[in-house]
Amino acid sequence: MDSREKIKAAIQEGYGQRVTFRDGSAKNELYIILKDKYLSNLPEICSNLSKTFKAFFVTLIPNDEREINGKFWVYYVFSIPKEDLFLILSVPVDPRQREIPSISTVIDAAAWFEREMKEWYGIVAFPNVRNHATHPDWPEDIYPMLKDFDASGFVPRVKGAFDFRKVEGEGVFEIPVGPVHAGIIEPGHFRFTVAGEPIINLDIKLFYTHKGTEKIAEGTTPGRTVFLAERISGDSSFAHALAFCHAVERLSGIEISKRALVIRTLLLELERLYNHIGDTGALLLDVGFASGAQWAFRLKERMLQLNEVLTGSRLIRGMAAIGGVRRPIEDTVHKHEMLHQTISDVSKEYERLADLVMSTASVLDRFETTGKLKLKNAARLGMVGFAARASGVNRDLRRDHPHCAYPYLKLNVPVHSEGDVLARFNIRGEEVRESFKLIAQLHHQHVNEEIMTAIDPIPPSSQALGYVEGWRGEIVHWVMTDKEGNIYRWKITDPSFHNWRALKVAVMNNIVPDFPVINKSFNLSYSGNDR
């Protein structure tokens, strides 16, 4: 009996009559359907999945399926890295009584997902909480993700005020920052409570850049949605678009050409490189080391120019396509040489820059022990990506749920345990070195194959997950098609949605002037979170 069957048998043994199983369109997805009557068992089942199988909570997908089967459904996605398996616990919700037990008490990582579900679908898991995904001027009983809500309609504003946690005491002050921030950066509101310099509480208000991305894709073609996916988070254009393409390809069950896999992997690593190198510069800028920062920005500019030569777009837009990639990238001698030369030059210069930083005491002094985040908290919050790995969470989808060409490549996943800004700085450097090594393994492969495998038509009424390890962390999409093969539901989970909560914990007891560098060390996406 293989491991998937073993897991199925164990769940069957534990919950017998309460669940049924269904295989997903994609090979590594198993749907566990909970019967209506046993809704109250939900927290216990999730807790067991998490403890017994060491399953990692990935995302929570509410869906309005009233026009299909008369109910709402909520899908709880868990990942079992050792078996490369995704368990999708599917829970039905009665439309007349939109309540569901909360799993946040056993899996803290689900908290923000449940809050968003309440405001966008009206399905209550977590009663009596402050608004999270909507602002106070949004009417309480309007749920934008319901099928009968018209996305093009204007919603009037109501009176309301932000409700921030108040901390009182002598010498305690509140510092509001944003949404318009002092630099060239996305909008969000931070409410600090400080006693002198040390921060004793931080409340974060997001969703200023909410554009209704998931909603406006409904009813449109998957082809158009690829372009929408590129604009979820500008610095992860390729990774998000690729995750979406993966979802559509997995629900179609097609294999794409090795050449396309190689190109996709190369582009994913190029995206990882320009972001990590850029962040190196931004972190140095935030501690006042201007010459090092400008050096890093010069290297980042070279990477962006390389992107433009290879793909026609500095941010690698217009490349991901359902079934492959839109354009070849190694079709001229000039492109080959530019890739080889740039990688060679930048990798050497990056080493010299890292060497300079490590020998500059003033920088190390600012980085060390600042913004410490322990493994216990990182694991509890369900953090993902390099920021999680800097605190000791050993998870990377390139290794744990291999995709693209990663199954064929030699990959090392660096993990640190200090969880401070220095750890998050160092891990970026190590991932940069890994990326250079991966790119070296990818040159000149399968050049005679096609770059596109057509999927015509896109299967109707199907669903699947699509995931990649983007440069920040794991990006997980879920797509369900309608009867025409257009988008019925699209759930986007950006790594920042998990990681924003970590910021509140990491800044505690640090001084206010260290906030910019702590924030930058996580480099969370506002637009990826808000969509």
Binding site: V180, A182, K211, G212, I216, F227, R231, S291, R298, G318
Partner: protein, 295 residues
């Protein structure tokens, strides 16, 4: 310390020579798509694949001014995201050029419209609806004193406040590239400031989400006159791929008056430089609108 000095000397000057010398974008770069309106015989082909409806086909039901049997094919460079799908769908009549200097003060000049008559053999081109863009000597008519005044007020030093009104962050990426050693916007006397109260110009990105509408308005009101507003990218011009919805206002000019529009998704740093220098009349242009001098 010695290492830093050594590095500073060994790195050569990397700043480019914009605007005296403009480096051509690489082959494969997707700039402005050009439609050969006269050659087109099937107007729906490109409109069907355009992800943002930058290219659209309208008939008399959409716009009563269009005669009953006619169709109107229009392309709006403000809404274009430069994906190249239109040229892929119709290589006979559409070509992707490397042109990316598209900034303008007149939003209408970003849209080209052609009329077609439908028949059994497809669509037949009738005429273009808009006059060709004004030639640069038109600016002389508006008064060189005004231009000189603008140059005097803003030309020596310009302070910019960047406002992200809900963008995906792509435009911010390219805007922050202006501060690197290659584009070095400070050599033009332009720098980014931390507060709208210190600013002469607002650089707005994003479609203006519902949740940023108020913040954008307040930032605009906090900026003392004379002031300029520049809309960066497809989202800030017309909502981009997000358009107008419950969550998005559909462009910066639905909330604040805009002086210059810079198409792109995102616009390249050199296109941003052109747009900003255009706004302060440091560059030759097709510009005919005046910036506001009120407070």
């Amino acid at each position: 310390m010695l290492k830093i000095i050594k590095q500073s000397f060994s790195a050569r000057v990397v700043t480019n020579s914009f605007p005296a010398v403009v480096a051509e974008p690489p082959d494969g770069f997707r700039g402005k798509p050009v439609i050969d309106f006269a050659r087109c015989t099937s107007v729906d082909k490109c409109a069907a694949v355009c992800p943002t409806d930058a290219i659209r086909v309208r008939n008399s039901q959409d716009d009563p001014s269009i005669p009953a049997n006619d169709k109107e094919l229009s392309i709006s460079y403000g809404d274009c995201i430069f994906c190249g799908e239109c040229a892929a769908a119709c290589p006979e009549s559409i070509s992707i050029t490397k042109e990316f200097f598209l900034a303008t003060a007149k939003k209408e000049s970003l849209t080209l419209r052609g009329r077609y008559r439908s028949g059994p053999d497809g669509d037949r081109f009738v005429e273009m609806m808009d006059p060709p863009p004004a030639a640069s000597n038109e600016t002389e008519k508006l008064g060189s004193e005004l231009i000189e005044r603008i140059r005097k007020i803003f030309g020596r030093s310009l302070n910019i406040r960047e406002v992200d009104a809900g963008s995906c962050n792509g435009c911010e990426f390219e805007i922050s590239a202006l501060n690197n050693a290659i584009y070095d916007i400070e050599r033009f006397g332009i720098h980014f400031v931390a507060s709208p109260r210190h600013a002469d110009m607002l650089l707005v990105t994003g479609p203006v989400t519902r949740n940023m509408e108020n913040a954008l308005k307040q930032t605009y009101e906090a900026t003392p006159g004379p002031k300029l507003v520049v809309a960066v990218g497809a989202c800030a011009i017309g909502g981009g791929i997000f358009g107008k919805s419950y969550a998005s206002c559909g462009g910066a000019d639905t909330v604040v008056p805009v002086d210059v529009f810079i198409p792109g998704c995102p616009p390249r740093p050199e296109a941003l430089l052109q747009g900003i220098l255009l706004a302060i009349k440091k560059m030759e242009s097709k510009m005919t609108a005046e910036p506001r001098m009120d407070g």
